[in-house]
């Protein structure tokens, strides 16, 4: 699938239209002051899949999730969860969705066990069952040893785990995860990924936001790329990666003036366009296979283009954005209002 096909943002959610979707959103809009944080997003999440929303800080991911979770009013457009209208039935939606926020939403004053007990009892679970659920979840998330400790003594990773555990008390059919691994160390991150995969085995549907292409690649069945409140692309992680290549050859030319010559050479060897980075003399070349890098390098030397540094890397979110939107993830027109609710 080409980039242009991926950019299928207009129109409805495609062939999935129907009430059997886990999430269906049409033209969602949220405005803060004059700033449109979410600017007409359509979304179709199928039951039983992990759907990733990929985008940089301030793209509107959190705001969109909060609207779907009834935490923010929907300014325009409409959303349904398992066929239930979100704006019209907030109380029903809250019974269907478990929300794990970007900042752990657990009570600092209580212990881990007390937190789970409180959230169970609030949702009408009988005392004896609430105790059992707390014990089960603490075991499942490896928090037994810390069960009686106040949250203030918890590490970031432990808080995240407790937060996710708290979202699973009633085993909701749909789970929202807002950047579940941001700020976690690689090991904890891998554990979190395993847990998220386990949820789907249980029959849950997961909608998660992330800033990391590799996280979307690892977890998601399908991905929507969001930029400045709009969806700029949607597809499977493979389709996304095909758009940017499986790996990226990053070149820094010794002479920035030779960029034009370098572009010619790449075009000649691969038949595709390199992406020019805003930095002077830097090019990113999408490669289907990493070993094509050698061909490009040999051709460049033959053409007399000298290189000061070279590396082959997996494509980053930045490259996806360069390929899809023509600008990087650090555009200065971003405000990041979504973080301030």
């Amino acid at each position: 699938m080409s980039i242009t096909e991926l950019r299928r943002t207009g129109g409805g959610p495609g062939p999935d239209t129907g009430s059997d979707l886990a999430v269906r959103a049409e033209g969602l809009v949220k405005t803060f002051g004059g700033h449109r944080a979410v600017d007409g997003i359509d979304l179709a999440v199928r039951p039983g899949e992990i759907f990733g929303v990929l985008g940089p800080n301030g793209a509107g991911k959190t705001t969109m999730l909060r609207m779907l979770a009834t935490l923010l009013k929907i300014d325009a457009g409409r959303a349904e969860i398992f066929g239930v209208d979100v704006a019209g039935n907030p109380h029903v939606i809250r019974q269907l969705v478990g929300v794990t926020g970007q900042y752990a939403s657990v009570d600092e004053n209580l212990t881990a066990r007390e937190n789970l007990w409180l959230f169970s009892r609030l949702q009408g679970i009988a005392a004896s069952r609430a105790r059992r659920i707390a014990t089960e979840l603490l075991a499942q998330f490896g928090l037994e040893d810390a069960a009686g400790k106040p949250i203030a003594q918890f590490s970031g990773g432990m808080r995240r785990r407790l937060d996710l555990a708290a979202s699973l008390i009633t085993r909701p059919p749909l789970i929202f995860l807002d950047e579940p691994t941001t700020g976690l160390d690689p090991r904890t991150r891998g554990q979190m990924w395993d847990t998220i995969r386990g949820l789907v085995t249980d029959g849950c549907t997961v909608l998660l936001t992330t800033q990391y292409l590799d996280e979307a690649d690892q977890l998601a069945d399908r991905v929507a790329v969001i930029d400045q409140g709009r969806k700029v692309a949607e597809g499977t992680p493979d389709e996304l990666k095909t758009a940017v290549g499986n790996s990226t050859l990053q070149l820094l030319l010794a002479e920035p003036g030779q960029v034009r010559a370098a572009v010619e050479v790449v075009r000649g060897v691969l038949g595709s366009e390199p992406v020019l980075s805003p930095e002077q003399g830097r090019l990113n070349v999408a490669l289907d296979q990493a070993d094509l890098a050698a061909d490009v390098l040999i051709a460049l030397r033959t053409a007399g283009v000298s290189i000061s540094s070279v590396s082959v890397a997996k494509p980053s979110l930045d490259e996806v954005f360069l390929a899809l939107t023509g600008h990087g993830t650090d555009g200065d027109d971003r405000t990041g209002t979504e973080e301030n609710r």
């Binding site: 109380h91 075991a139 059919p173 395993d194 386990g198």
Partner: protein, 278 residues
């Protein structure tokens, strides 16, 4: 986490969940959720005992201070001032305690856990009403200490134990009702400091422009007019009649009526602005 042994569990079925979902919260559920929130607030109080400083110290300090400062000037001597003053301090203490309700709610609302409360299928009033139920504990401590300090200074209430108990209960109920005003302030203000500022502006005129410390007859006419309609004055008079003479006067009815009016206005206002905060 990765090595967990997941017991065989039923698969989650979305359609069943949609069918089983309740449309709204019943009054019984609301009560249960409010009590759970109260449990949380009590736990929080026990882990932050410094929250009890104001309720414990203020009655003791103020009762002693006011008795010796104003006693001679207003009533001739400390002994004859106590029956006038102790019910006044009672009202003041209870009001100061309600102010803390608002500031603590605001502080709490800024924390992440409120996000979860909002995302749960629970009554919107429960996170507001729960801490207020727990605050009954604080009112009880404050009221008991005020009378205790009065007794130490030589106050001998003529209404006996029954009269004193009735005065304490009335003050607690009134304080709890007025706390809805401060809860509302807590939901509309932008910061904890703002809540404190606004609350003090409400609190000072209410307590000092009342008959809590001085007899109404000593005030200029225009001020006396305000003091007479101030609900705190009704509370103070009712508490004096109860504690000193075991007399259930019409002032009790006025106090209860004013309290109910405050709840009827400010409870819905608080829930509305709490919802809008989302």
């Amino acid at each position: 986490m990765s090595t967990m042994i997941t017991p065989v569990r039923e698969v989650v079925r979305a359609a069943d969940r949609v069918a089983a979902a309740r449309r709204r919260v019943s009054p019984g559920e609301t009560l249960g959720q409010t009590l759970m929130m109260a449990w949380r607030a009590v736990k929080k109080m026990r882990r932050n005992p410094e929250q009890f400083f104001d309720v414990a110290l203020q009655p003791i300090l103020f009762t002693a201070m006011f008795a010796f400062i104003f006693g001679g000037a207003i009533a001739g001597d400390v002994q004859s001032y106590l029956p006038l003053m102790v019910p006044g301090i009672l009202a003041q203490t209870v009001l100061t305690t309600c102010m803390a309700t608002g500031t603590q709610l605001r502080e709490d609302m800024e924390k992440g856990v409120f996000d979860r409360f909002k995302s749960l299928p629970i009554a919107r009033i429960a996170p507001l009403a729960g801490p207020m139920v727990a605050d009954l504990l604080r009112y009880t401590i404050a009221a008991t200490l005020t009378f205790g300090m009065g007794l130490v200074l030589g106050y001998r209430p003529g209404g006996g134990a029954g009269g004193v108990l009735a005065a304490i209960l009335l003050s607690i109920f009134t304080g709890w009702s007025l706390a809805w005003i401060f809860t509302w302030v807590g939901t509309i203000a932008r910061s904890t400091q703002a809540v404190q500022g606004i609350s003090l502006m409400i609190l000072f005129p209410l307590t000092f422009l009342s008959n809590a410390f001085v007899p109404i007859e000593t005030l200029p006419g225009w001020l006396a007019a305000f003091v007479r309609i101030n609900p705190v004055s009704h509370l103070v008079t009712a508490a004096r009649d109860l504690a000193n003479d075991a007399l259930v006067s019409s002032q009790v009815a006025w106090t209860l009526l004013a309290s109910l009016a405050v709840i009827a206005i400010f409870a819905p206002l608080s829930v509305r602005s709490y919802k809008r905060h989302m």
